[in-house]
């Protein structure tokens, strides 16, 4: 266990600088001129002197290497720099935006995991039945659906036509968050979380189904059946653990996709999370903020994968032996 964590820690220490360096290099090739992005529609009011002044304030008059080294020095001293577009320390922007995103992703993650697993089991146990076919159709269709499109569709149906759910935002407009009830809060989370989870259900369902079929067709299940086990008994005593493993792996491995999906979902629902900030940072050429978000999301995805690795050892005794020995 100790060995495992130490190994992971070393991996993390290697990954983060690599991610940072690569992202910074990519941003240098971006055609976006941050000063122009900032000036935007005011471009006929801004003199060259003023443009120069803005570039100096942002340190953009320095060569890229200098800027990178400076940024790295700051990062090592725990300072992530100041966001250009938000005029605030990057840590502050991320801290404020991370919680709503985490709630959204967490809700979507739980929903998609539970629903996906159950659907996968149903489909697997009733192979080739009408249930199986419907579930597979659903999974294949949704696996190829863009998040933002589904989001807009849900808004049109449930918010505009039916009026059941709110159109936007994390809580009712015009209210202070301290006055918002948990019911209202969940109501506003419902549609974005549903959008995110409906799409990520597919992977878990299909993998679970596949694994379940594999197990059901194995020799030890045949043996169990020969001893008179019912289908439910077979499933509960023999298949459950086997199918749980790929489901959980998929669930934790999708942290990256979850993050990507939340960017789009947040945009559609005007949900004030990290995803929205990412888009603004990207379009505005806000390098400090974008790099900050990249680091945080790298940590997030890394965390997901590590948990998946750990879970193996919990569920599968054979792997536990391998890691402890």
């Amino acid at each position: 266990m100790k060995f495992f964590l130490r190994k992971k820690l070393i991996q993390l220490i290697l990954i983060l600088p690599a991610v940072a360096m690569l992202s910074f290099a990519l941003l240098q090739f971006s055609p976006i001129d941050p000063v122009q992005a900032y000036i935007g529609a005011d471009m006929l009011q801004m003199s060259q002197e003023q443009r120069q002044q803005i570039a100096e304030r942002w340190g953009l008059d320095q060569p890229p290497l200098m800027r990178y080294l400076h940024w790295q020095k700051e990062i090592l001293s725990g300072n992530m720099g100041r966001s250009l577009i938000f005029q605030e320390p990057v840590t502050k922007v991320i801290a404020r935006r991370f919680l709503p995103s985490l709630a959204l992703m967490g809700a979507a993650w739980l929903l998609s995991g539970v629903i996906g697993f159950i659907l996968g089991i149903i489909a697997g146990l009733k192979e080739n039945s009408i249930y199986d076919r419907l579930i597979r159709l659903y999974a294949y269709t949704l696996a190829s659906t863009p998040t933002f499109w589904l989001g807009m569709l849900l808004v049109i149906i449930f918010s505009v036509q039916l009026g059941w759910t709110p159109v936007c935002c994390a809580y009712p407009p015009g209210m202070n968050p301290s006055d918002v009830s948990i019911g209202q809060w969940l109501r506003h989370l419902l549609l974005p979380a549903a959008t995110l989870s409906i799409i990520s259900v597919a992977a878990v369902t299909l993998h679970t189904r596949q694994k379940l079929l594999e197990v059901l067709n194995s020799d030890f299940v045949l043996f169990a059946r020969a001893k008179g086990e019912s289908t439910w008994g077979v499933f509960r005593r023999h298949a459950l653990r086997h199918t749980l493993l790929p489901a959980l792996t998929i669930q934790f491995a999708t942290f990256g996709e979850l993050f990507g999906g939340s960017i789009l979902a947040e945009q559609v629902f005007s949900y004030p999370g990290l995803g929205q900030a990412t888009i603004k940072a990207g379009l505005g050429g806000d390098i400090p903020l974008l790099l900050g978000i990249v680091l945080v999301s790298a940590l997030f995805v890394f965390f997901g994968n590590t948990v998946a690795d750990l879970l193996y050892t919990v569920i599968d005794p054979r792997m536990r032996k391998a890691t402890t020995s």
Binding site: S47, A170, P173, G174, M175, R187
Partner: protein, 554 residues
């Protein structure tokens, strides 16, 4: 044992996610049913007017960084302001004068204005605001101002490096901030002397403001406003769902009826037009970028296109009727030269102009040519702008019968910037500040950023523009701004050198609750920020005025 040790933190992690989603406002649970209705339409149960008119100021609501340059700064007040007819009025200023050499502006201010924290607004604050805006490297370009100085308890003087009549627009737009409470984070909790004060700002979602009880001017009737930051499609959905009472909607959605709301259209100077490179192509370069275009360098081509375009058809066909024809960059403003409104859709006149200049179809391929140059050129537009794309397509069709071919190409701004001196571009401008005219046409600023990208050069026009900037009064300046467009023999309009073909002015379209009176609709500048809020102190609920109380919709 091992299962125990690892499973515990894992379960913790899993439940952490759950807990986060349950953590907010537990004690409020009992209010849930009571507030259910509010989710759909807050205005029916609370006093908050909810608006979705875009325009979040990510960097914060600090005028010295650029907040408030469209519409009103809301939290702060300005020295001067526009009335509904776009005439200059005093706000914080009680009088102002310009020195003989036009380098010094003296402004007297009222002394009864208080900031929302109760401290009086003084000349010190005014000078501080202007000097800070100059040095902050934000979106206020005061590089032509040397310094603002306090000259008395209630008077300030501004010292300019060059005469500049348009400085008056800085007096109109720059909100005054309190020196004692202004720092780097001011934009997140602004304190000002304006009609409203900030209650809270949930970034990416909403801004809530309340009437400022200490405001010296007319007290707003609407006590509490919530601005939602939605994109225009979501704003429309929100209007349909009854969540907002004022929504800025795109023109293509504007004629879709929404129950309980009326359509408000504001005429604007928000224009679209084609910029032509005016230099002949050579091997010249400017800032390393190619310069010149042999086809558009011929004034006859530019004029012919101007005459051939049917602007009313563009308004009807592309803008769905939500717009007006544009013959210059300053339509509907005081300094527009009305004589430049040519009779367009005139293919005969266009053909005659081309014939006169020697453009003929010598090789019978359907395209005009002259001295081996074929009458075709590329027209660029920003690829993500639907209206500009449609305009470009329509214009290409309109000039095709003349024997002129436009090759259309959608690109990003960053790509357009690299070819804008050699290829035609569909731009959009429109400002209350006539400095824009100067930057569009003066040869001295050619090629600086987006200033005069076609490198248009006419000494007579340059002289008018210089005189306009150096003018002593607004009236005098207006005369020169008009002359630059057309003085009877030359100018930047289609009658003169026609360096641009202006096409249309967009109407800004809003859906407004039928119960809400938003006063006189002003001519609005290019669509950013909140121009519609300029007269927000005049807004009121109709029922309230009739003394019926409540503001419920039928």
């Amino acid at each position: 044992m091992l299962i125990f040790r690892t499973a515990k933190p894992l379960a913790g992690i899993l439940f952490l996610l759950l807990l986060i989603s349950c953590d907010q406002s537990q004690p409020q649970q009992k209010n849930e049913t009571q507030h259910q209705h509010a989710v759909i339409s807050p205005s029916r149960t609370t006093d908050t007017l909810v608006l979705a008119i875009g325009g979040e100021e990510e960097q914060g609501y600090d005028p010295t960084m650029g907040w408030g340059r469209y519409g009103s700064p809301l939290f702060q007040s300005t020295l001067l302001r526009y009335n509904d007819a776009l005439e200059m009025e005093h706000d914080l200023a009680t009088s102002y004068s310009v020195s003989e050499d036009r380098l010094t502006w003296n402004v007297d201010i009222r002394l009864d204005a208080l900031f929302s924290d109760g401290t009086p607004l003084t000349a010190e604050d005014v000078a501080y605001t202007f000097n800070t805006a100059k040095d902050s490297g934000g979106l206020v370009d005061l590089s032509f101002m040397n310094q603002a100085k306090v000259t008395g308890e209630h008077s300030v003087s501004f010292h300019l490096s060059t005469p500049r009549s348009t400085f008056i627009h800085y007096l109109r737009t720059l909100g005054i901030v309190p020196k004692h409470a202004h720092d780097r984070d001011y934009g997140r909790h602004p304190i000002g002397s304006g009609p409203y004060k900030m209650v809270r700002w949930d970034e990416g979602q909403q801004l809530i403001v309340e009437a400022n009880p200490l405001y010296y001017g007319k007290k707003p009737a609407i006590k509490r406003l919530a601005f939602l930051f939605l994109d225009s499609d979501t704003a429309f959905a929100a209007a349909k769902a009854g969540t907002v009472q004022v929504a800025a909607v795109p023109q293509i959605l504007a004629d879709k009826a929404v129950e309980g709301m009326r359509l408000v259209r504001a005429t604007s100077v928000d224009n679209r037009g084609i910029m032509f490179p005016c230099q002949k192509a050579g091997h010249e370069e400017l800032n390393g970028l190619p310069v010149g275009n042999d086809v558009t360098a011929d004034p006859a081509i530019r004029q012919a296109i101007n005459y051939a375009i049917d602007r009313q058809a563009l308004v009807e066909g592309v803008l769905n009727g939500f717009g007006t024809p544009a013959y210059g960059s300053v339509s509907h403003l005081d300094w527009e030269e009305k004589a430049t409104r040519i009779k367009d859709n005139n293919l005969k006149k266009a053909a005659a102009l081309l014939h006169e200049a020697g453009w003929e179809d010598h090789d019978q391929d359907g395209l005009l040519d002259k001295e081996g140059v074929v009458a075709e050129f590329t027209l660029l537009y920003p690829a993500d702008r639907l209206i500009r794309q449609s305009l470009a397509l329509a214009v290409a069709d309109m000039v095709a019968p003349l024997g002129i071919r436009l090759k259309l190409s959608g690109k990003s701004w960053d790509e357009i910037r690299k070819v804008q001196h050699s290829q035609a571009v569909l731009f959009g401008w429109g400002s209350y500040d006539p400095t824009e005219l100067y930057h569009l046409f003066h040869s001295r600023v050619s090629g600086q950023g987006y200033f005069n990208p076609g490198l248009y050069n006419n000494p007579a026009v340059d002289a008018y523009l210089d005189q306009a900037l150096a003018a002593a009064t607004d009236e005098e300046a207006t005369k020169f701004w008009r002359a630059a467009q057309w003085d009877g023999s030359t100018g930047v309009s289609a009658l003169g050198d026609a360096p641009w073909a202006w096409l249309v002015n967009l109407d800004h379209t809003y859906l407004v609750d039928q119960g809400l009176d938003i006063g006189t609709i002003r001519v609005e500048p290019h669509g950013h920020g909140w121009p519609i809020t300029a007269n927000i102190v005049d807004w009121h609920w109709k029922e309230e005025q009739n003394g019926q109380g409540g503001q419920g919709k039928p």
